[in-house]
């Protein structure tokens, strides 16, 4: 196994997602339109409610994180969906790629799109609402990387569900991130959630990344070191989910799902 070959295989998926995004209006729309609409509507609501500057930042951080997460997870989720929609699944899986080539390659482009979305939202919140959501660069990058890892987690879940349940699971590509955000405290602290759901939210890395970011605006975090907890949970979740994906792939090979996707 040559490392250069593996890198090239991984970049194959980055290349494909880049070309498809460049050529399809709807994917550009996903990066630009919905995040900005989301930010403006939430921002206007916050102005109307006359929220304090800190509360305003709290809400905007939720809106920005949701947008970044949605945009970047789509690239991982779409890596299989593009093939399913064009019925070319067999041509991808007949090549000597591994799960990591697919996931990492598509995620890399998701990171790029997510970063572009963040920059747009940062400028929009500064220009439209005079709220600065920028923290010191190293911490910001660590926060963003955490959100991107969460995007990878959601994307891998979607891909695994697609392999297990077929076409029916495509809906998760658009809904899972919203469900995640609901549990992780998108516009509210998780401490106000019912106990059972709160326990669930603590098991999701994104909860801790959000609390970490909001901590810069004076909000209390549930645990001492949310960033470290977030990263530990992320890597654990990824290890488990990649195992789930590999199991789902072998199951799909046994049941003929891969050939069915190509018919």
């Amino acid at each position: 196994m040559s490392l250069r070959n593996e890198i090239y295989k991984t970049l194959g998926f980055t290349y494909r997602n880049f070309i498809i995004t460049r050529r399809n209006f709807f994917t550009i729309f996903e990066t630009l339109f919905w995040p900005v609409i989301g930010l403006i509507s939430v921002g206007l609501m916050s102005v109307y409610l006359e929220l304090s500057k800190e509360q305003f930042a709290f809400i905007l951080i939720g809106a920005v994180t949701l947008s970044i997460l949605q945009v970047s997870q789509l690239d991982v989720a779409y890596v299989l969906l593009f093939d399913i929609w064009s019925k070319s699944v067999r041509y991808t899986f007949v090549t000597p790629i591994s799960a990591w080539n697919m996931i990492l390659g598509s995620w890399l482009f998701g990171v790029f799109r997510g970063f572009v979305a963040f920059l747009i939202l940062f400028v929009a919140s500064e220009v439209l609402f005079r709220v600065n959501i920028l923290i010191s660069l190293p911490w910001l990058l660590l926060f963003l990387f955490g959100v991107f890892l969460s995007a990878m987690i959601i994307g891998v879940i979607t891909c695994s569900l697609l392999l297990i349940f077929g076409y029916r699971a495509e809906i998760f590509a658009w809904t899972l991130s919203a469900i995640f955000m609901l549990v992780c405290g998108i516009y509210y602290p998780v401490s106000m959630l019912p106990e059972v759901i709160r326990a669930l939210s603590y098991a999701i890395p994104l909860t801790h990344f959000l609390e970490f970011y909001r901590g810069f605006y004076g909000f209390k975090t549930s645990f001492e070191n949310p960033l470290l907890i977030g990263y530990m949970l992320s890597f654990f979740a990824l290890a488990v989910l990649v195992a789930l994906y590999l199991w789902a792939f072998e199951r799909a090979r046994r049941r003929g799902t891969i050939t069915q996707f190509s018919e």
């Binding site: 250069r4 290349y15 593009f82 064009s86 067999r90 041509y91 007949v94 090549t95 000597p96």
Partner: protein, 317 residues
């Protein structure tokens, strides 16, 4: 223990070996047996035909050989590698093209080939350029897949199948739905590529003429079982059918008349004619014609050798 994947080409003479391969599709409520104990050898460096009616199990078998499907039971060895344990090693050395031309819609000819080249870890862009040239796609280099004609889509699918310089290619009805002139050119291309590169090709097809033109050996599959296997001549001999006599007549001959007629293996009744499948036209023509003449006037007699289509029709019954 590290597995040694260095390929010793003298190690195997068969590109594919299937031993008692079963495929059973299971769902909550039902079970469907798609393959029933397939035993098959595909010799290296040849075009091997896999023929059979719709739903016979051809695509299932090819998908198992191409590691896209896991057999329920049995062993499959591809290029000396076990299909279950060494799937990734097999995938490096094989490729596939199907008659349903589907690639990513919004990628151009060049982008599609480059993308798949990258998935094989191929950095040399000349390989992509050469394939575009070899398959006469230069004019459509920057045309998106969904804007290509069916013929050009199929050319691209075939070009993609040679991108990793495979030792073994599976072509699953590669000329399905194409206009005859385009289909003919693609068949010639397949033959040329196979000869130039010395690769093994497993071809499934519905077109008997295609199998006659391209395949050295053929296996017939029906209801998930191999019902016959051999060269074209061996298959005809296996069924003892060599010649076909068609007699145009208005005669009404009783069905049982030729049942025990020596050297006659099958009789087909058409609207104004009877077709007799016989072991030898020289031996049987006179007796058959005499018998038919007893029931009515003979207007015309044509004689030709049995072809693969006749063998296929007989085996598909």
């Amino acid at each position: 223990m590290v597995r040694d994947f260095k390929l010793d080409k003298t190690r195997f003479v068969d590109a594919v070996k299937c031993n008692d391969v079963w495929m059973i599709y299971k769902s909550l409520l039902s079970e469907k047996v798609a393959l029933k104990g397939i035993n098959l050898r595909v010799p290296k460096g040849e075009i091997f035909g896999l023929l059979g009616p719709n739903g016979a199990g051809k695509t299932t078998l090819v998908s198992i050989m191409a590691t896209l499907l896991r057999q329920t039971r049995g062993e499959v060895e591809v290029l000396g590698f076990d299909s279950l344990k060494d799937a990734k090693e097999i995938r490096k050395r094989i490729n596939i093209a199907s008659g349903n031309p589907n690639l990513i819609w919004s990628l151009t000819v060049y982008e599609n080939l480059r993308y798949y080249a990258m998935l094989y870890g191929i950095r040399d862009r000349r390989i992509v350029e050469n394939l575009i040239k070899d398959f006469e796609l230069e004019e459509f280099r920057n045309v998106e897949f969904n804007r290509l004609s069916t013929g050009n889509k199929q050319k691209l699918i075939l070009a993609r199948a040679f991108i990793n310089n495979p030792e073994l290619v599976f072509l699953d009805e590669p000329t399905k739905g194409l206009d005859p002139p385009i289909a003919k050119r693609l068949r010639e291309k397949i033959r040329t590529m196979q000869r130039e590169r010395g690769i093994t090709v497993v071809l499934t097809t519905h077109y008997m003429s295609e199998a006659e033109m391209l395949c050295k050996k053929i296996a017939f599959i029906n209801h998930g079982e191999i019902v016959a296997e051999g060269t074209k001549e061996e298959l005809k001999q296996m069924l003892r059918m060599r010649d076909k006599i068609t007699i145009e007549t208005d005669a009404e001959i009783p069905e049982q008349k030729f049942q025990n007629f020596e050297g006659v293996f099958m009789v087909e009744r058409n609207e104004n004619s009877y077709t007799f499948y016989v072991d030898s036209v020289e031996k049987r023509l006179w007796d058959i014609a005499k018998e038919v003449a007893n029931y009515g006037r003979i207007r015309n007699v044509t004689v030709r050798e049995v072809d693969l289509e006749d063998v296929f029709n007989e085996l598909a019954k």
